[in-house]
Symmetry: C2
Subunit: 208 residues, 2 copies
Amino acid sequence: MSDKGSVQRGTLYVFSAPSGCGKGTVLKEVRKASSRLVFSVSATTRQPRPGEVDGVDYHFVTKESFNELVRTGGMLEYAIFVDNYYGTPKDRVMSALDSGSDVILEIETAGAMMVKALYPEAVLIFMLPPSVEELKTRLIKRGTDSLEVIDKRVSQAMREISLACNYDYVFVNDRLDEAVQDMLSIMKAARLGVRQNKDLIKGVLKRC
Amino acid sequence: MSDKGSVQRGTLYVFSAPSGCGKGTVLKEVRKASSRLVFSVSATTRQPRPGEVDGVDYHFVTKESFNELVRTGGMLEYAIFVDNYYGTPKDRVMSALDSGSDVILEIETAGAMMVKALYPEAVLIFMLPPSVEELKTRLIKRGTDSLEVIDKRVSQAMREISLACNYDYVFVNDRLDEAVQDMLSIMKAARLGVRQNKDLIKGVLKRC
């Protein structure tokens, strides 16, 4: 970084992948490799499960304060399910970016589109399964869901994959080590995207 | 790559940097690290210099055949100087991309804009000096040009840098090893750009 006098604003990454795609495993490796990466903690109105810690697993909030945040534009994205609300409080993400940290949001496609609209500099990354068939096989092998639930998950995955073309980058999780390298290269390159570096170009021109 | 049945089309990279920025050194290292990368050979109407080999350093062509290529849309980009013409014949680049090779064009900003217009999937990469002042210092240290020529080069560099915002990626050549890593990460990530992978997404959805 040549502009040593000022903090370069961090990059906001949005990461989505269908359920059963190995998102958790890939993110665990990515977390090990990047020290300046902050994982955003979502807010939710659901009750904490045993062992879940407020501020670590989720920010547990009331429906009233959740709605207040939505109403005042304080949510970067949110999803409302029948019983529970989930969302990303904007202020924490923005202050992390301001201080030069990169932030990663692990959210669904609908939320990703909301982030892109509100914060166009965000870099959207979608991880694909090798095929939908392979995804189904993985879900069956996992053995935690009934076939009916698996079919529902596969339909949901197909809906999500068809939105992948609205992301900036896509990669396939076929082999874990390759998937992690793909993700890290994307993150490195994304920081070098011209959208992120207009001030850098101005700075190079100025200092003469 | 999950779509093993078909050859994935290669990626076209356009690489520009002001004179004196260390472009040759960076490209030499990049060439070592990437086996499937083809360096495009330009066509020129100038006479070969001693030691230059036709088809290796340049394709040496007549003004008539150069003009014929331009007239028939056979040049991906070209530049006409007072005495000599330089250009990138389209057919060689396209057949390399078709066969799955990645191709890199080392050209000036004006040519880069022509490529982007004709082939929007191209990935445009601009390498910046740490500062214009530093660039001038490097040119002075090199000791091959008069101060008048150096001033001309610096003005030209500033004109080029001000066009860097039309590229896809920018990075600074401050330390060679970091610059090479930046370039390699950009090239890896660029292959994962969504523009390049619309067919991949379709393929994942289909095979189920």
